[in-house]
C-alpha cells in the first residue's frame, strides 16, 4: 500500500479526525447548521421515547383492567364493587398518564407521535369498551371513548376500530368462561329475556353475547376499506382473529345446546378446533 499524497505528490498524513477538525475551521457554518439539526433531532427522539414509555404503561394497566373484568360473571348490571374499586385506581393511573402525555402531543405533534401512543390507546379502548359492554351490553361509541381521555389526546377512528376488534376477543373469552361456570348466571338473567330463549339451555347472557358478536362481525365485515389505506394491513389480520373468536363462541353455544343436559359439573365446552386466541 502506498502512502496517501497531496496533489503535488508530497506524502500526506491524513487522520480522519484531523480532516474534520480542519473542516470545522474552514467552514464553521456547516457544523453549526448540523449542530442545530442535532438538537432538533435529539429533542424529537427524546419526546418519542417518553411517549412510547407512557404508551406501554397505559397498555399494561389496561391489560390488568381487562383481566379483572374477566372475573365478572354477569352482564347488564354494575360491576361488582371489589373489581370496580380495583379498576378505578387503575383508570385513575391511566388518566394521570394521559395527562402527562398531553404536553408532548400539542398541536402538530398530535399526529406526529400518533403511532407511538396508538398501542396504548387501542388497549385502553379495549378495556373501556369491555367495561362498557359488561355493564350495558352495548358498544361504546367513538365520542364516549374520546370523553374518557383529556381533550387534547387524539383518538383516531383507526384506534377506535382496532380497539373494538380486540374487544371481540375479550367477549369470546368471557362467553366461554361463563358458559363453563354453570347455571347461576343463567337463572339471574333469564327473567328479562324472551320466552324463546328461556327454553334454550344456553344462558341468556351468553346467548346475548353470541348475538352481539355476530352483529359485530357483520358490522366489521361490511366495512370497506380501500386497499391502499393505512388501516388495511392491521385490519386484515384482526378480521381473521375476530372471525375465529366468533366461531369459537358459536361452537361453544352449540356444545351447550347439544350436550348441556349430560354435562357434569365442572365441564368446560369443547373447543378442540384449537384456534389461535388473540394474544393482545
Amino acid at each position: 500500500m502506498g502512502t496517501k499524497r497531496d496533489w503535488e505528490g508530497q506524502p500526506l498524513e491524513l487522520h480522519p479526525k484531523d480532516t474534520i477538525m480542519a473542516e470545522a475551521e474552514s467552514a464553521p457554518s456547516i457544523l453549526s447548521i448540523f449542530e442545530n439539526f442535532r438538537d432538533e433531532l435529539d429533542e424529537h427522539h427524546d419526546r418519542r421515547e417518553r411517549i412510547i414509555k407512557k404508551s406501554r404503561d397505559i397498555t399494561a394497566l389496561s391489560k390488568k383492567i381487562i383481566f379483572a373484568l374477566q372475573r365478572v360473571r354477569a352482564t347488564n348490571q354494575p360491576i361488582p364493587p371489589k373489581i370496580a374499586q380495583e379498576n378505578q385506581t387503575r383508570f385513575d393511573q391511566i388518566q394521570a398518564l394521559f395527562e402527562a402525555v398531553v404536553p408532548e402531543q400539542l398541536g402538530i405533534n398530535g399526529w406526529r407521535y400518533q403511532r407511538q401512543i396508538s398501542p396504548g390507546i387501542q388497549e385502553f379502548i379495549e378495556a373501556i369498551s369491555f367495561d362498557h359492554y359488561l355493564r350495558t351490553e352495548t358498544l361504546i361509541t367513538h365520542a364516549e371513548c374520546s370523553a374518557r381521555v383529556p381533550p387534547q389526546i387524539l383518538i383516531s377512528e383507526e384506534d377506535y376500530l382496532l380497539g373494538l376488534f380486540d374487544l371481540t376477543g375479550e367477549m369470546m373469552r368471557f362467553a366461554v368462561l361463563s358458559l363453563s361456570s354453570g347455571n347461576t348466571t343463567a337463572t339471574q338473567v333469564t327473567k328479562n329475556t324472551t320466552n324463546e330463549s328461556e327454553k334454550s339451555p344456553v344462558a341468556a347472557s351468553q346467548g346475548g353475547i353470541v348475538v352481539d358478536l355476530r352483529a359485530m362481525r357483520a358490522g366489521f365485515e361490511a366495512l370497506s376499506v380501500p386497499q391502499r389505506h393505512y388501516m388495511f394491513r392491521d385490519m386484515a389480520k384482526k378480521l381473521d382473529v375476530m372471525q375465529n373468536s366468533v366461531e369459537k363462541v358459536e361452537r361453544a353455544a352449540y356444545g351447550i345446546v347439544v350436550r348441556g343436559s349430560e354435562r357434569p359439573s365442572g365441564w368446560t365446552p369443547d373447543l378442540s378446533g384449537a384456534m389461535e386466541v388473540a394474544s393482545y
Binding site: G2, K4, R5, D6, W7, E8, G9, T19, I20, E23, A24, A27, S29, I30, L31, I33, F34, E35, F37, R38, E40, L41, D42, H45, L106, G107, I108, N109, G110, W111, R112, Q114, E137, T138, L139, T141, H142, E157, Y160, L161, D212, A215, M216, G219, F220, A222, L223, S224, V225, P226, R228, H229, Y230, M231
Partner: protein, 235 residues
C-alpha cells in the same frame, strides 16, 4: 345490543379520509412525473463538460419551477389537514425535488436563490424560501419541509455527486472531483455530529461514507498520476 350506526359512522369516516387521500395522491402523482423529468435532464450533467452546463441547468431550472407550482397546489390542499397524518404520501417526492434543487444549485444553477451563508449548498431555509414553504414547524400544524426530509435529500445529492466525480474524470475534468471531495467530506462531517436512532435517516446516512470513499478513490487515482491541475483544489 349492537348499534349498527357505530359501523355506519366508521364507514363514513373511512370514506371521508379516502377522498382526502385520493385528492392528495393525484397531486403527488403529477409531482412525481415532473420529478422524473427533472432528474432525467439533471442526469445529463454526467455527460456534459462543466463549461457547457449552462443550457442543461436552464432546462433543469424550468422543470424545477414547474414542480414548485405542484408544491404550491399540494400545500393548498395539505394545509387543510393534519400534516403528520398525511405527510407519508408526499415525503418521497418532496425529498427527490429538494435533492434536485440542491444538485442544481451545487452545479451553479439557481444562484439567485442561495442565501448569503458561506456554505456551498442551499440551507434548509434557502430551500424553504425558494419553494415558498415553511420549514421545520414545531407548533403550527401546516405543510412544511421537515429536517428529516431535508437531510435525506442531502444524502441523495451526495450519492449523485459521488457518481459525478467518476464521470467528470471520464469527461477529462480533473478539477471537479477535488471540489466534490471537499464538499462531500464537509457534509459527512456534519452528519457525524448527529445522534441518529435506528431509523431511516440512520440507514441512509450510513451510506455517505461509501460515497466519500468513492470520491476519495478518484482523488487518489488522480493525484497518484499527477493529473491534478495545480491550484485546482481551491476552485
Amino acid at each position: 345490543m349492537i348499534d349498527q350506526r357505530i359501523f355506519e359512522n366508521l364507514q363514513a369516516k373511512i370514506d371521508e379520509e379516502s377522498t382526502v387521500r385520493d385528492e392528495l395522491n393525484e397531486i403527488v402523482r403529477t409531482l412525481a412525473r415532473r420529478g422524473r423529468s427533472t432528474q432525467a435532464i439533471l442526469s445529463r450533467a454526467h455527460s456534459t463538460p462543466a463549461d457547457q452546463l449552462k443550457p442543461v441547468l436552464d432546462d433543469v431550472t424550468k422543470e424545477i419551477l414547474a414542480q414548485k407550482e405542484e408544491i404550491a397546489r399540494l400545500k393548498a390542499v395539505a394545509d387543510q389537514h393534519p400534516f403528520y397524518k398525511y405527510n407519508g404520501l408526499w415525503t418521497r417526492e418532496l425529498q427527490n425535488l429538494v435533492a434536485s434543487i440542491e444538485l442544481c444549485a451545487w452545479l451553479g444553477g439557481l444562484q439567485e436563490h442561495k442565501g448569503p451563508s458561506s456554505t456551498s449548498f442551499m440551507t434548509i431555509d434557502d430551500v424553504g424560501k425558494f419553494l415558498d414553504i415553511p420549514v421545520n414547524l414545531k407548533e403550527q400544524d401546516a405543510f412544511h419541509l421537515t429536517i428529516e426530509d431535508y437531510l435525506l435529500a442531502l444524502i441523495a445529492m451526495v450519492e449523485e455527486l459521488a457518481r459525478l466525480a467518476v464521470n467528470s474524470v471520464t469527461l477529462g475534468d480533473y478539477t471537479r472531483p477535488m471540489q466534490i471531495g471537499i464538499f462531500v467530506k464537509e457534509v459527512f462531517a456534519g452528519f457525524q455530529l448527529l445522534n441518529l436512532k435506528n431509523d431511516i435517516l440512520r440507514k441512509r446516512s450510513d451510506g455517505i461514507k461509501y460515497s466519500v470513499k468513492k470520491v476519495e478513490d478518484v482523488v487518489y487515482d488522480l493525484s497518484l498520476r499527477n493529473l491534478i491541475p495545480k491550484g485546482g483544489s481551491s476552485a
